[in-house]
């Protein structure tokens, strides 16, 4: 019995199963089917009868050869090509053995054991090849699977990365938007702060205006009155001249002269007041100029006083001054220092008028503005300005807050709370000086400014 038919049958069955020949290669399917049946048929014949053994053997070999040939040649059987490698050795050996048997039977018989052995080896080779190929295939499949898995993982990771980047971009955009909003808010706050500072200035200017109006009124009155007097005197003088009383006319002329000097004096006084008011309203140039601090203090004291009187008719307080005449001009931005003085003096007047409301018998509201030159061997020359009042004083619990912006003890609407903080800024940052307060609650307070003369 030859194994060729068995091999053919097995191969065809394998092909059918492995390659799903019906599906993929329908045209070969019929041919293979034919081959299969033929093989089965011839096998049966072989088993049943002992005749035609050699012919059948040769037919089997040829059929197998043909099968291997088509397996090797056609592209569609690529997957099964390993079968060719597996089976060809066996087929060749079988073929050679049959040829030997045909040519020289004796030789065949003598070498029978050898030929059997070789056939067996070829057979084992075939099986071996098949096993190895299967293993290779399996590993290939595994590797492919792994590759696919890895690819999928990579895809997942890429997707996650992409998502992360989207998230990060979103967050960054959010943060950027928040930053922009904060920047806008910051700008708005800065603008609001500038406005508040400006309105504080305008408020203090407004307070000044009433005082200044009064201050101007007086000199203007003198200008008017004295010039009217001079009109009368001139008429009198003309009469005396007509009457020939020249000495009397001369006396009158002297009086007229004196009056003219007074007119001139008061006119200049009004002019100076207007100029100082303009300077106060103009934004500070920031430039330091030599200034008479005593005159500045005196001017703002009077301005404050009249301003407060103009606002509140019941307001009344005494004020004293004590100026050190040895102080020459010091280098300051006089609008700023003037504003500071005004603020301190206004506060002092406010404090004493508040205390006056309590109607303590014998209470005389008084404020005192004094200047002194400070000279010692340790420090460069400085000037000390004190604004003292005998008002209510500063309570201990607010003492550390009074220089803070927006802090005020006045009822709503009466004070912005910026006066002392601006003053503090002007003195310390603007002029490198000091601003401190000494107070006794219920008895009064004294604000002390120390300024370097340079």
């Amino acid at each position: 019995m030859s194994t060729e038919f068995i091999i053919i049958i097995l191969v065809v069955i394998y092909l059918r199963r492995a390659l799903k020949a019906k599906l993929f290669i329908p045209e070969w399917h019929d041919k293979l089917q034919l081959l299969l049946y033929a093989s089965i048929g011839l096998l049966v014949v072989q088993v049943v009868t002992d005749n035609f053994r050699i012919i059948l053997h040769w037919v089997g070999m040829i059929m197998l050869a043909w099968l291997l040939y088509i397996l090797n040649k056609h592209e569609k059987f690529k997957e099964a090509r390993f079968l060719v490698t597996a089976i060809v050795p066996y087929l060749v050996v079988s073929f050679v053995i049959e040829v030997i048997r045909l040519i020289n039977v004796d030789l065949f018989n003598r070498w029978h054991s050898w030929t059997d052995a070789i056939q067996t080896f070829a057979f084992i080779w075939g099986i071996g090849t098949w096993i190895v190929t299967r293993r290779q295939r399996k590993e290939l499949i595994k590797a492919r699977q792994k590759a696919i898995e890895e690819e999928q993982n990579n895809k997942v990771i890429s997707a996650m990365k992409a998502q992360l980047e989207v998230d990060v971009a979103e967050r960054t955009a959010e943060l950027r938007k928040q930053k922009e909003e904060l920047e806008i808010t910051l700008d708005e706050l800065k603008a609001a702060q500038a406005q508040l500072i400006q309105s504080e200035k305008m408020a203090s200017l407004g307070e000044l205006t009433a005082g200044i109006a009064h201050e101007i009124q007086n000199p203007l009155n003198f200008v008017n009155n004295f010039s009217e007097v001079n009109k009368e005197l001139l008429a009198e003088m003309k009469t005396e001249i007509d009457s020939g009383n020249f000495s009397e006319a001369k006396n009158i002329a002297n009086d007229i002269q004196d009056n003219e000097e007074k007119i001139n004096f008061h006119g200049k006084r009004a002019d100076a007041i207007v100029k100082s008011m303009l300077q106060h309203s103009r934004s500070s140039s920031g430039k330091k100029e030599p200034t008479d601090i005593n005159a500045l203090a005196d001017e703002y004291l009077r301005l404050s006083y009249h301003g407060l009187r103009a606002k509140d008719k019941s307001f009344n307080a005494k004020f004293e001054t004590d100026f050190d005449d040895s102080i020459q001009e010091i280098n300051i931005v006089h609008q700023d220092i003037g504003r500071v003085l005004l603020n301190l003096i206004n506060n002092a007047f406010y404090s004493v008028s508040e205390k006056q409301r309590r109607e303590i018998p014998g209470y005389e509201p008084t404020i005192k503005v004094s200047t002194k030159r400070l000279r010692d061997s340790f420090n460069p020359d400085r000037v000390e300005i004190r604004v003292a009042d005998n008002g209510n004083g500063v309570p201990k619990k607010v003492l550390d807050k009074i220089f803070q912006p927006f802090f005020t003890t006045k009822p709503t609407g009466l004070g912005t709370g910026l006066g002392l903080s601006l003053s503090y800024d002007i003195i310390t940052r603007g002029h490198g000086g000091e601003l401190k307060v000494e107070t006794k609650e219920g008895e009064g307070a004294e604000f002390i400014i120390i300024l370097p003369t340079q």
Partner: protein, 125 residues
Amino acid sequence: MKILVVDDERDIEVLFEQRFRREIKTGEIDFAFAYSGEQALDYLNQHVHEAVLILSDINMPGMSGLELLRHIKQKFSHPPPVVMMITAYGDAENYSQAMRLGADDFLTKPLDFSVLKEKLKEKVQ
């Protein structure tokens, strides 16, 4: 007639002396000057019954003109001197307060001296 003028501006003195030079020369009017409410009271205490008319500014440092007015009307009542207020602040509140305290008249600055002279003539009569 003795008139006491109370004002913290010193040039008021010169102004009055100029404006009333004729009256001063003829002896019709005699002026005294005080530069504060306190000084005015001192003067009145020292020269009792001399001044028949007092012209006072309202806003002065220290004692205001209205306070002075109150003091005068309380302490010097026989006979009470005539007190006229002169002030730059010619507003209703000042006016009503002055009147309430017994002021005899209320004049605003700048002083119209002709009007003042008229009023003085009336008061004398």
